[in-house]
Amino acid sequence: MVRSALKSCLNGLAVDMCRCLHIIRMQTIERLGPLPYHRPTDLASALRLAALPDRKVIAGGTDVFPAAAQGQRFETMLDVTAVAEFSKIEISDSEIRIGAAVRWMDLIRADLPAAFDGLKQAARQIGSVQIQNSATLAGNLCNASPAADGVPPLLTLGASVEVASAAGGMRQIRIEDFIQGVRKTALQPDEIMTAIVMPVPPAGAGASFEKLGSRSYLVISIAMVSAVIATDAAGVITYARIAVGACSAVAQRLSGLEQACIGEKPGSVDVTADHLVELAPIDDVRGSAIYRHEAVAELCKRAIIGAAG
């Protein structure tokens, strides 16, 4: 349904685009005060506006405003929160689709399979209730912070992002490919994210999220681990997805550890240095690299047990 809306908007684009650019050109010439604030209510308009030069996408504002320095003039803003399709969480037989304006609190309240419990636990620990009421999952991905709490659980759910532009249409990118580095994503200048899409998780899979910080609430993670685990009747692990954040420029899945889990009972998984090769933690004010490495091994064990529990 969302996709058909997208197609129809692509068809009618050319005419509207001109009108829009015209407005912008006038503003630029005037150079008086800030640039416009766009708040489209449908996808077609959103994509048309996304093609504007130097526009800044804003949703919850929880990353945009804190990054603003004294004297910073805001660019043209494209507020995506009023686009009707973007606020939906849709569950079908084949996928689970979270719109680009879905806020963390919407996710917490949504009825989702148990494999999403890790994502929900992360949601409850993101900032505060205030942040959860404003911030979106999509924004967490687009901001591409190494310490983004949303990324590890989305990695364990095999999530892809759906991005679209008026010119290029729609494409899906795995999160692993979407987040390319610190504050760097695969979004093209004229693209916006439209949804996060996940396959239906294996039946019976559970999930968990382990966050390590120096205080309760409102804390940037020193490290975090998310796991999705399924076990057979004997309690032996048959499916494992484990991802770590804040220990590398981009959150990583630990494929070696995932493989090592298969055939083990959750409590007997040993996390070795080899399992953490994907990680490259750094020293910063929140903790040393050595500490992160060591803590992550422990968090992985807990996450596996928690997800299986």
């Binding site: 509207d16 829009c20 407005i23 503003q27 008086l32 005060g33 800030p34 640039l35 416009p36 604030y37 766009h38 708040r39 489209p40 209510t41 449908d42 308009s45 959103a46 048309r48 506006l49 919850g60 504002g61 929880t62 405003f65 804190p66 320095a69 004294q70 004297g71 910073q72 003039r73 805001f74 803003m77 507020d79 929160t81 009023a82 609190m105 409850r124 900032g127 505060s128 209730v129 205030q130 942040i131 009421n133 404003s134 390590l212 120096s214 205080r215 309760s216 609430y217 409102l218 804390v219 940037i220 020193i222 004010v285 929140r286 903790g287 040393s288 500490y291 060591e294 803590a295 422990e298």
Partner: protein, 913 residues
């Protein structure tokens, strides 16, 4: 359809039930719109980044940070602020009552955020669990209360206020609490009118830099909306300020070279819209970064650049106290222990950044800003402005926390210079980062200590050497240097003692006054080593402290002898039941758990109330009007601790009328005499003593005039005083009396100055007229694999002499413990790296466990009704108690705070090897 909004657009929404329309510009935050366009100044801005939650409002009933909400998003929706819910919602009204009953608002700056967040919760859940309350309020930081009273208020736990009477000892609501819970309180940034000229201070981006201005006149003339530029050349008096006369060394604007990151070099005065768009880099100044010294070792190297002429090796000053022969005693001691302890910069992190406004009234400058020391502000401005004090008026506004830093000037000189230069009213509000970069911090410390004990467990030799990073300017550094050697012994009997301190200049932010003035740092060293001594002796740590506790008629390390009032033994003894119980429970817990270990720690502290060996008088004036109104000129700045209430209770008790009904006039320098600065835990004691004398003097006049017995019961009945004594009922018609220029028919003004004597070259003398005492017990749980430490419970014993108001005593204890917890576990200010409340962590509501306060009352003969100071005492034992508890839980000794998870884990790992 697309809703294209031009750069300026009109939008409408419902604000507190009323339809409003406003103009919105791209990038406008809801917080700004509410405060500046719609007059909703009850919405507070603490960080402008979603880190503190003070600006929380309800958007369609859900709490959001107004500072992160684009105003365009509220179009057509409902926004509620504290003032709105207080007016419209019975849930909020009931909560406001409970907030007052519990003392859940101290300074009140976080209260709007706390209350609206709580209202959102209570609309959904009428009887929330504590966990639900924590989750709902976890996004709002409070620096005063320690959160426990807020939890109590939201959960509607019982609040046993005193039913009859409101004099000394009565547990009553604070007298100024209603405005804090209704949103009506006016804080530093709440008075200036929208549209007023604003000031932007231009600051050094480097720890040390040379700089040159380009053509400032041309820049000002050609930059639209700029009204004036201020630099050192615009300071009509002397370009210098400071708080200690011999150490006045800080320029208002640096000249040629800056000495720390964030130091001011210039200020721009301009229209608000221009200030909003003005980046630091727009200002025409060229910086040249210079080699900087940022640690005290480097600063004392012979090759290091000297920050201040005449301060060789960058040593600002030192302090020294000795008695007996420490080395000889250590040589003969049965056991000795030694250690080196370090702490970093700690930021006050009050939720209200510095702000204010100033205006010219005729040839006088008036400054409206939050402050802890209005008269000192005026004295400093006299020098800077080259004006007589009579031409300067300081009007303190409500203040959103201080904790020592707001004793120093911040916005005041810039405001004064800007209004004098332009002739127009001006406004200045620091950003969070600006506040953190430019105002004072707690001194980092590097302490070496050796202590011995004899075979019986009595202390035998104590040798202390502490160096403190006082940063680029002296501020209160000399006070720290003086106080530390006097207090480093802790509240114990030590006959052979030597303590030396040094304050060292670096290119770091100025370190100044912060709750405890260096004593929390020295207590970490001393109380940690006391635990090690007890262990080496095979003694119980609590009994070891009781054995060595200071007593009446025993000399302190300064040779001072108190014949009365020494309450430390009682504090320690009061912890015995909890000590036994909690250690047993921890042991049971530890037997059941593998990677979670609990430990119980204790520590004690003492703190001398008032200035060290210097005069520090307070004057309190009061009067009675014809209509029977009692007016109290309460000049002690109430920064949330409760001076307005405590001083009023003392005064009312002395006068013999109810506290309720007394009209308070605050510390406006034009109308209220100097009650000194709010620091050094001196207001309850010193201003309280002055208030008592003033109350007694006023009473004496009335009693004499009415010719009734000294112990007559007075009652104010409209325009008359009714006195009842053994001779019966007497009436005095006040209307018949002649009123003086203040409108008072009776008036009294009394001064109290604590009796102290100078310290000699060995630190012997009478530094303080009274000490207060404290002992804390804490239970912590350590996750031994991750190194995280979670305090579970505190029991805090405080000898306050006489609790003037037990509710406020508990508030001080809980708030002080939260700050001590932060210092122990998470807080470290690193210039350039933790300059916001995102990276600089202070405890949240999830970090502070239940706190049981044991009020010990060992009266002090000098304190009003026996009362002693309390504010700083609380923070002193907390950190060492936590470190001792970590040891009890894990065997790991942590000698550096904050004990962040990586440090704790490293210490545990070292033991495993």
């Amino acid at each position: 359809m697309t809703e294209v909004m031009p750069s300026e657009t009109r939008l409408g929404f419902t604000l507190n039930g009323q339809e409003v329309t406003t103009t919105a510009t791209t990038g406008d935050r809801l917080s700004e719109t509410l405060r500046e366009r719609l007059g909703a100044r009850d919405v507070k801005i603490g960080c402008n980044a979603g880190d503190c939650g003070a600006c929380t409002v309800l958007l369609d009933g859900a709490p959001v940070c107004a500072c992160l909400t684009p105003v365009h998003q509220v179009s057509g929706r409902s926004v509620e602020t504290l003032a709105g819910v207080y007016s419209n919602d019975p849930i909020a009204q009931a909560l406001a009552e409970r907030f007052q009953d519990h003392g859940a608002a101290q300074c009140g700056i976080c209260t709007p955020g706390m209350m609206v967040s709580a209202v959102a919760l209570l609309r959904k859940e009428t009887a929330p669990t504590e966990a639900a309350v924590r989750d709902a309020l976890g996004g709002v930081l409070c620096r005063c209360t320690g959160y426990r009273k807020i939890i109590d208020a939201v959960m509607a736990r019982p609040a046993p206020l005193t039913a009859e009477g409101d004099h000394v000892g009565a547990r009553i609501r604070r007298v100024d609490g209603l405005d804090k819970v209704s949103g009506a309180e006016v804080f530093s940034d709440d008075l200036a009118a929208t549209g007023m000229l604003e000031v932007l201070v231009i600051r050094s981006p480097h720890p040390r830099a040379a700089f040159q201005f380009r053509d400032l006149d041309n820049w000002a003339a050609t930059t639209e909306g700029v009204v004036a530029v201020l630099t050192a050349a615009d300071v009509p008096g002397r370009n210098v300020f400071g708080v200690i006369p011999q150490f006045v060394d800080q320029p208002v604007f640096a000249e040629k070279e800056t000495r720390f990151r964030g130091e001011a070099v210039a200020a721009v005065v301009a229209e608000p819209a221009v200030i909003k768009r003005l980046a630091q880099s727009d200002f025409p100044v060229v910086w040249e970064a210079l080699p900087a010294v940022t640690d005290i070792r480097q600063a004392q190297d012979s090759g290091a650049a000297i920050l201040h002429e005449g301060r060789a090796q960058n040593v600002m000053c030192g302090g020294f106290v000795t008695c007996g022969d420490a080395q000889e005693a250590l040589a003969r001691a049965y056991v000795t222990v030694e250690g080196r302890f370090n702490s970093g910069f700690v930021e006050h992190a009050y939720i209200e950044p510095e702000a204010g406004y100033a205006r010219m009234v005729g040839d006088r400058v008036e400054i409206f800003a939050g402050t802890q020391a209005p008269m000192m502000d005026r004295d400093s401005l006299e020098i800077i402005l080259g004006l007589d004090g009579s031409k300067i008026r300081i009007v303190p506004t409500g203040i959103g926390g201080g904790f020592g830093s707001k004793l120093d000037l911040s916005v005041q000189p810039y405001l004064a210079l800007a209004t004098m230069k332009t002739g127009q009213p001006v406004r200045l509000t620091y950003s969070r980062t600006e506040s953190m970069q430019s105002t004072t911090k707690r001194h980092p410390s590097d302490i070496q200590l050796r202590i011995g004990a004899d075979a019986e467990g009595k202390i035998c030799g104590f040798d202390f050497f502490g160096e403190f990073d006082t940063g680029a300017y002296a501020s209160w550094g000399p006070t720290v240097a003086n106080r530390v050697p006097v207090h480093a012994s802790g509240p114990y009997q030590i006959t052979d003692y030597r303590a030396e301190s040094k304050g060292i200049h670096t290119n770091n932010p100025p370190a100044g006054a912060f709750r405890g003035f260096g004593v929390p740092q020295s207590a970490i060293a001393q109380e940690s080593l006391f635990d090690r001594l007890a262990e080496k002796l095979g003694m119980d740590p609590l009994e070891f402290r009781i054995l060595n506790a200071l007593e009446n008629n025993v000399q302190t390390v300064c040779g001072q002898v108190f014949a009365q009032g020494v309450g430390i033994r009682k504090c320690l003894e009061s912890l015995r039941p909890a000590w036994a119980r909690e250690r047993m429970q921890a042991e049971a817990f530890n037997n059941a758990w593998d990677t979670r270990k609990r430990g119980v720690g204790i520590a004690a502290g003492w703190y001398g109330c008032g200035n060290t060996s210097l005069p520090n008088p307070s004057t309190i004036k009061a009067g009675l009007k014809k209509d029977g109104t009692v007016v109290l000129h309460q000049g002690a700045a109430d920064i949330g601790q409760g001076a307005n209430t405590v001083i009023a209770q003392i005064f009312a008790t002395a006068l013999g009328v109810p506290t309720k009904g007394i009209v308070l006039i605050g510390p406006d320098t034009d109308v209220t005499p100097d009650a000194g600065k709010t620091s050094a835990s001196r207001q309850t004691y010193v201003s309280g003593a002055a208030a008592r004398l003033s109350g007694l003097a006023l009473r004496a006049q009335i009693v004499q005039r009415m010719n009734v017995a000294d112990d007559a019961v007075l009652r104010l009945d409209g325009g008359s005083v009714v006195a009842r004594d053994s001779g019966g009922r007497h009436l005095l018609d006040l209307a018949a009396l002649e009123a003086g220029e203040d409108g008072f028919v009776f008036t009294a003004e009394e001064t109290y100055d604590p009796p102290t004597k100078p310290l000699d070259s060995n630190g012997q003398g009478v530094p303080y007229a009274q000490f207060g005492f404290a002992a804390h017990l804490v239970v912590v749980e350590v996750d031994t694999r991750l190194g995280t430490v979670k305090p579970q419970k505190f029991v805090a014993a405080h000898d306050v002499g006489q609790a003037i108001n037990p509710l406020l005593v508990e508030g001080q204890v809980q708030g002080g413990i939260a700050q001590g917890l932060g210092m122990a576990l998470m807080e470290e200010y690193i210039p350039g790296r933790t300059e916001n409340l995102h990276d600089y962590l202070i405890p949240t509501i999830g970090d502070v466990p239940p706190i049981e306060t044991l009020i010990i009352e060992e009266p002090d003969a000098r304190g009003p009704y026996g009362a002693k100071g309390l504010g700083e005492h609380v923070l002193i034992p907390t950190a060492p108690a936590i470190l001792n508890a970590i040891y009890a839980a894990t065997g790991a000794r942590i000698c550096q705070v904050p004990a962040t998870p990586d440090k704790v884990r490293a210490a545990i790992k070292a033991l495993e090897k």
